[in-house]
Amino acid sequence: MTGHLPILEIKNLSKSYGAVKAVNDVSIHVDRGEITGLIGPNGSGKSTFFDCSTGLARPDTGKIVLDGQDITGWSLNRIAREGRMLRSFQKTVTFKALDVEENLVIAGQMFTFPSIATTFGLGKMSRQRIQGLRERARDLIKMAGLWDVRHQPAGNLSGGQQKLIQFASMLMPEPKLILLDEPMAGINPKIIERVVDTILYANKSLGVSFLVIEHNIDVVTSICQRVIVLDQGAKLVEGLPQDIIQDRRVREAYLGG
């Protein structure tokens, strides 16, 4: 049984760029079914930490264990495909020329087709798989409130709507864990509510665990069960959200004191 093990455990992760230690010996874990927050002032190494954990960048040292499996050194696509750990990007990205539905179908493809070779098929099996993905995509589009714009190119939609597309895309493959890099950045309050609802829905109903980098402290305190604070590449403190915002060290780190 792996039930009591954390879904994600990262041990002693370090990453330097030249002389700069962007991430310095950080160890964290995310419990199963938990929404964990990762906060810290700008330049504290949050995004580098994300990139190293998801295979986008190679950490200098450290071990990454996902659901009991050592995934250290895996590529970004393999971590997503085999590990079912997905991530978003700080700068919202979608396949801009493709419509909303196609965006989601692409997101599900590699999880539905057993191999690269089978993706070249046009037979009945292949059509059925795509049909299944389309139906799932439509459900998620409805949930994300994008039904009316589902046939529009993603690039034509607002930043907030594209954020929702990105979010819905990550739910296509039935993920175990999602890493969100500033999901609320640069979107209007109305959409913030919607994104919060979607995160909570995915967490409660679909059982997805989350690790969320977020600057909006209200959002962090309302959705996270536990918060980890990074400062200057190292872990400063971790604990319950209400304790963290009271913590003197955290305040000093943010105020630069």
Binding site: N77, A80, K96, L98, I106, I116, L122
Partner: protein
């Protein structure tokens, strides 16, 4: 709203099927409608359509700009030429061999080349053409150097006890037409498959595709090899049609012609490549009648293209196609 739509559609007639039928008839009857020279131009257009389809998969769908098509075109031509001259094997055997050999050579070339980013990749693929030409010029024991391989026989078919030789421009036209149609169908099948969707995802945003589990590196390598197979098959046809292969087959001019076909026709559209090869190759061939004005006219066409049809002609064709289909 749907009611008015159906009413409008009912009022308008769908002319697509009749037009498609007319195009098929024209394609089949072309050697009898036009002069021998027109037939020749069409054959060249059909031959160049093959590497162009491959390039379209790479440039138009996967977003990788490559100039290596002429190298693979040349490799295919030499493979077919050598087999036909040395072993006298059947046409279809050589055709398949050209495709397979070219695809196999694309693997070791693609592995280092695709690790390079954008411009470096383009320069690297340009290098393949130059290296191909150098090898074909200097490996004299195999390629006969600058003299080239001459005396490639007419397409010879052997199926069990049956055998026949295909001769004459008209017959060659039908051969090229069949192979061209099959290649178009193959390209269409690839882009319509889920893999085609992944290719577009890589073109649109490689990192995003990667983050959604798409093994982008494998796809790029596979598409690079497929594009080489298309070019190799085209090279085989070219060798048979000219009955000579020389180091001139490895020409930068061919790579740029193929690129003009794809971009001018409309990158990322199969119909664009078909139209592009007819227009640009057919045009250059047809303009040979006025050698003095040929390059000027060609250049003028390119200028018009760059200024007025930035996405190539395919969007125009699509709009026309939808218009005659009764859609608004």
């Amino acid at each position: 709203m749907s009611l008015t739509e159906t009413a409008q559609q009912a009022r308008r007639r769908d002319y697509r099927i009749p037009l498609a039928a007319v195009l098929v008839v024209v394609a089949l009857a072309a050697p009898f409608i036009g002069s021998r020279y027109v037939t020749h131009s069409l054959i060249i257009a059909l031959i160049f359509m093959l590497p162009a389809h491959g390039l379209n998969l790479l440039v138009g769908y996967t977003g990788l700009l490559s100039l290596a098509q002429a190298a693979f075109f040349g490799i295919g031509a030499y493979t077919a030429g050598l087999l036909a001259v040395t072993y006298g094997t059947s046409f279809y055997v050589n055709l398949i061999a050209s495709g397979l050999v070219t695809g196999a050579i694309a693997l070791p070339l693609g592995i280092p080349a695709l690790r390079l980013r954008s411009t470096s990749f383009v320069m690297c693929t340009l290098g393949f053409v130059i290296i191909g030409q150098a090898i074909s010029k200097n490996w004299i024991s195999l390629t006969r150097g600058d003299m080239g391989l001459s005396g490639i026989p007419k397409p010879y078919f052997e199926l069990g006890p049956l055998s026949f030789t295909l001769s004459g421009t008209t017959n060659f036209y039908y051969l090229a037409l069949i192979i061209g149609a099959m290649a178009t169908l193959a390209a269409w099948a690839i882009v319509r498959s889920p893999a085609g969707r992944n290719m577009v995802a890589i073109r649109e945003n490689e990192i995003l595709a990667e983050s959604l589990g798409v093994p982008t590196w494998h796809y790029k390598l596979i598409v690079f090899m497929i594009s080489a197979v298309f070019a190799g098959v085209g090279g085989c046809l070219y060798a048979y049609y000219l009955s000579v292969v020389s180091p001139l087959t490895f020409q930068m001019y061919y790579s740029t012609t193929m690129l003009i076909i794809v971009l001018g026709g409309g990158a990322g559209m199969i119909s664009g490549t078909v139209f592009g090869s007819l227009l640009f190759v057919g045009l250059t061939e047809a303009l040979r009648i006025t050698p003095e004005l040929r390059m000027i006219a060609y250049g003028l066409c390119l200028l018009i293209l760059v200024f007025w049809f930035k996405n190539g002609f395919a969007p125009l064709i699509n709009r026309f196609w939808n218009a005659i289909g009764g859609a608004r």
